[in-house]
Amino acid sequence: MLALLWLVPAIPFASALALAVLGPRMRARGVAVVGTGSIAISAAISLVIAGTFLGAPPASGAYTQTLWTWIDVGSFRPGIAFYLDALSLVMTVVVTFVSFLIHLYSVEFMRGDEGYSRFFAYMNLFVASMVTLLLADNLLLLYLGWEGVGLCSYLLIGFWYQDAANGLAGRKAFIVTRVGDTAMAVGLFVLFHNLGTLRIQDLMHAAQSQWPAGSSYAIAAAALLLGGAVGKSAQLPLQTWLPDAMAGPTPTSALIHAATMVTAGVYLIARTNVLFTLAPPVQFAVAVVGAATLLMAGFSALTQNDIKRVLAYSTISQIGYMFLALGVGAWGAAIFHFMTHAFFKALLFLAAGIVIEALHHEHNIFRMGGLRTELPVAFWTFLIGGCALAGLPLITAGYFSKDLILWSVANSPAGGMGLLAAGIAGVVLTSFYTFRLIFVVFFGRIETAVSHRPGLAMVVPACILAFLSVVGGFDKASFEALLNTALPHFREAGGGMSEALTSVAAGLAFFAGLLAAWYAYLRNPSLSRAAAGNPAGRLLHRFWFSDWGMDWFYDRLFIRPVVWAASASKADIVDSIYDGLASAAVLCYRILSATETGKLRWYAAWIAGGSVVTLAIVMWL
């Protein structure tokens, strides 16, 4: 059954092509059937493959399927080949399953939109590219999937192209991720030049054997790959694009900017973990980036008033946790958190979608209120998602995965107390802004009336995801065992905090955040307005609101100079060389024509002068 592996990316790709070409002529129902059906089949196949893989795992723990050789020039022979092991299996199953649910959801959410077939074409193309990325056997095919998902995120963010702002947001996302991709491409060159291949498994063995720990090549390659991962997963230096990416339709935000694409960077680092273990400073950098990002994004999320931007910042901060886990070598924990995060973050976005749809596209949370009674389904699913996100102890999956990360940070040789403190502070921040969101949106007075109730197609996926957000975390042990077949075990340094201690700490942090939010927003709502009143508060609020001023800073540092340079050199400077030549010729003409005065004696004088000079030359020679 494993031979059907190539169908998982192929079916969505084919249906994307079909929808792109025939879409406009098909009826909406037909488009929905083709669009969602293809993802359903692909999800089903991946589940079947998962079953056979778990049932009878292949000998080497991995299954490779080569379709054809893509390019073969001298020693460079990347093939279109898929590599399935525990890591890519878990991610493929999660991605395809969550995509299926979101496609189901968007059948109803996008109904009536004039670009219906275009939307499903892009979404299918996205799933195809994401699965190609996950199953890629060599880094070049991974790069193909990598750019493909970047492209689809650009297309989907700018989906409602009539509004120029969406187009610009899409362009910003594509360019910022492409900055990361360029770094990653150079990383690929380093790897190929020094190790002679791009096939991931051979690369890892070659790196292991040829490069000593801490070798400059390993550091360069790992750092460049980290650059790519940071770009795609919207981590610290390159995270400004994700909040603007919320301009796209909500299912897109749910699928791309919450569950799947943004975790591509995590997958890349997990997949090339050998490189990072060979370059300890870069691995530590990953941890630091993760910690810093989770704090920054947490604070920014506090101040947002658009429901989707809050969730976007929370995504950035949760991926910060995954980077933190990767940084300390807890590969399994990061992937585990990826899975749970995919469930509850997609759920939160879908619920937010229901709310937005119900309040005819109202985004500002302060103009929503009291939806607890109006939209019970949205409320309960949102609540479960929120608790999973914040990490309600012992019940939600989010708690288990975050607890595992905190424990790994505490016990890993690389993890310092600083990182652990950041982690716990992050938990407090997460629960604070999550419950702020819930209290403001679902409690208090009804600001805007609910226009229409969500249909079944929107509610069912949300409920399934809610169920998964709870159940997902229970069977941690077997999940760990499965991942360890593909990823190295987590090396515990002795003397760290025990399992129980970190989980208690996490639970306390959760309740602290909950209480703070309850006190600030339900107990006396005037407190938040007072905080915003005084000058220091207002400055801080503006600073955090604009993502710590990163956007403003990048605009000044990069965008303005390039735009200025382009407009300044619009008229080709090099062309002026040739214009100069032309005008010099005209000048010579004008000078010479001035000598023709028409006076006989003037010419006679020149003739005499000429003859005198020639005579002199003759004499002198």
Binding site: A605, A608, G609, S611, V612, L615, A616, M619
Partner: protein
Amino acid sequence: MTIVFYTASAVAIIATILMLTRANAVHALLDLIVSLLAVAVIFFVLGAPFVAALEVIIYAGAIMVLFVFVVMLLNLGEPATRAERALLRPSMWIVPSVFAAILLAEFIWLLVSGDVPPSAVAGIEAKETGMALFGQYLIGVELASMLLLGGLVAAYHLGWRKVPQTEATHVSHP
């Protein structure tokens, strides 16, 4: 013989200078004729009687007469000479004489530096020149004749158009 040579050349140079500085065209012409005759004498001294004769007959005779004829035709008269004298400012002589001085210096320098051995004894008779003319230089003579024909046709053509117009508009100048 050399005294004759030197006097003749002196006369030639002085006549030419006079010709240059004259305001009245006819006076200048007459000075020019004197200078040409002086050159004819020099030719004679140099033992080239045939050429001297030619110089007198054709150059001084024919060409200069043509000149006089044209000057008469132009009928310049007193106002023209007065206008001419107005133009004869001393300042106009500076530039040409600078050129001329350099040119003369070059000639002299060339002549002095070259070692000119003494010349042959006897002059060259007309017979010898005639034989050369129709022997070696036969083509040259034919070409010269064509040149003269060209000059004739051109002069005739230019002259012809003018006659009817001048009849109609000829007004005696004041």
